[in-house]
């Protein structure tokens, strides 16, 4: 297991957002994390990235991440593409990508600029454009490309399909699938459960801060009871 989370709890000013979550991701897996609004999905990713204080244990590649600063966790190769893309909008596409390089921090390089331009050709055409002026889909590609520049050992994606047209989402998920097929470990948070279950091997359903159900994605997708109960879409 490259990532092992046990009894994870997190609070925001008295409101409990995670109530003892156990979750595992194996190397090379794509695991989906789905659940309704406010279930705690983003909170979970932010605990993994060190942005939200928590209790419980997070072990990444044999190393406990307790109280590690976010930039150190990123430099270990556990890289998050946050919800809403979070462009550095005053900087050019190229500058955003080059910044992503920082997380590499002496680890082996597995992706370089040309790989990213191959995966998302539009970024090469727009390399000098300000990131804030890109379209939503282009921004999502840049956010993922920027994380890849740090040669992640595991990617955390928070709702990459948010606000994108279906045809763009289709292209994006195609890219994610090919990333995973080339060996990238991915934990994918999605509102679009059908899509997430279609590309992932395993899935966890989070509800009100707890894992309500988990198993093979194909089985969950065909279990109408689970779908209806937790993911009425």
């Amino acid at each position: 297991m490259i990532l092992k989370v046990s009894s994870l709890e997190a609070h925001y000013d008295g409101v409990q957002a995670l109530r003892g979550v156990d979750l595992e991701v194996g190397a090379g897996e794509m695991v989906a994390l789905i659940g309704p609004n406010g279930a705690g999905k983003s909170t979970l990713l932010n605990c993994l990235s060190g942005l939200v204080a928590h209790r419980g244990e997070i072990v990444f590649d044999g190393r406990p991440l307790a109280r590690m600063a976010p930039h150190r966790i990123s430099r270990l190769g556990l890289l998050q593409v946050p919800e809403g893309r979070q462009m550095l909008s005053g900087m050019s596409v190229y500058e955003n990508l080059v910044l992503g390089r920082l997380a590499l921090s002496g680890r082996n390089e597995t992706y370089d600029l040309s790989d990213i331009f191959r995966l998302f050709p539009v970024l090469e055409e727009r390399r000098n454009q300000q990131a804030g002026t890109l379209s939503g889909g282009q921004q999502q590609m840049l956010a993922i490309g920027r994380a890849l520049m740090g040669s992640p050992r595991m990617l955390l994606l928070d709702e990459p399909s948010l606000g994108l047209a279906p045809v763009i989402v289709k292209g994006l998920f195609h890219a994610l699938r090919s990333l995973n097929e080339s060996g990238m470990t991915i934990l994918l948070v999605e509102q679009n459960a059908r899509l997430a279950l279609a590309v992932s091997q395993r899935a966890y359903i989070l509800e009100r801060g707890r894992v309500a159900h988990h198993g093979r994605s194909r089985e969950i997708a065909s279990n109408s009871e689970v779908i209806e109960h937790y993911l009425a879409v």
Binding site: P70, H71, R75, L88, S89, L102, L104, S105
Partner: protein, 297 residues
Amino acid sequence: MMLQQILNGIASGAVYALFALGFSLIFGVQRILNLAHGGVFMAGAFVSFYAVDTGVPFPLAILLAMVVAGLVSVLIDLIAIQPLRRRSHDIEYAAIVSTLGIDMMLISVAQQVSNTQVLRFPFGTFPIQFFTIFGLRISLLQLVIFAAVIVLTGGLGWYLNKTSFGRQIRAVAENPSTASLLGVSPSAVYLQTFFIAGALAGLTGVLIGLSFNSIHFLMGEPYMLKAFVVVVIGGLGSLTGAVAASLLLGVLQALAVAYLPTGVPDMLIFAILFLVLLVQPNGLFGAAGMAARVGRK
């Protein structure tokens, strides 16, 4: 005569710019008003004076003043800002109080050290020499000031826009948590900007101490006020705005002092500040000059 006043005004405006750049940089990156910036400026002047006094060559004394002022500034971040940041994300108001406290501490230390005296550089510390160019008299000190301002503002612009460190600073200025997800350490960036701002303030302290041949424990306070004016007129966080507004302030002040009765110049300057804010609440450069801007929108 008028041209001469303008030239002198540009020279003092250039010094304000060095001071205001650091103040504006810290605001742009951390969103805090560092009220101890004037204290750091004064500390720089003090260090250079005591260095010269103990026989250190003047150029070395300037360097020493910049480094010590930079380190004092870093200490301010460590003592007065970072502990606040660990507890909360909204530290704007708390930081005003804590940096004001540090400023008072710096002032009282300086008052003790100097025995409330005005310090003056020994005669001949800096050669007093004048040149005449196109009928305008310009001192060697003014030439040095021009050169320093051009090199340092240009250097800062280059550093921010063309180097990896500069990119990290701009990334943190725009969004610290996104930057940290990319492997940037915001606290390292904060220390770095405090050092740069402090070193610039320290140099300004030396240049002002030299220009008026007067160094005293309260010398930072009027400059703090000018920095506010400049930074608000220039647009908070806009570095080009800070430089342009400094030059404007310097020239206006020189002209007002030359042609208006005593007391009127300051009134005029604050009246202008008020007018600018009425017409352009974000400052003259609030929207333009994005490239040289550090900070969140």
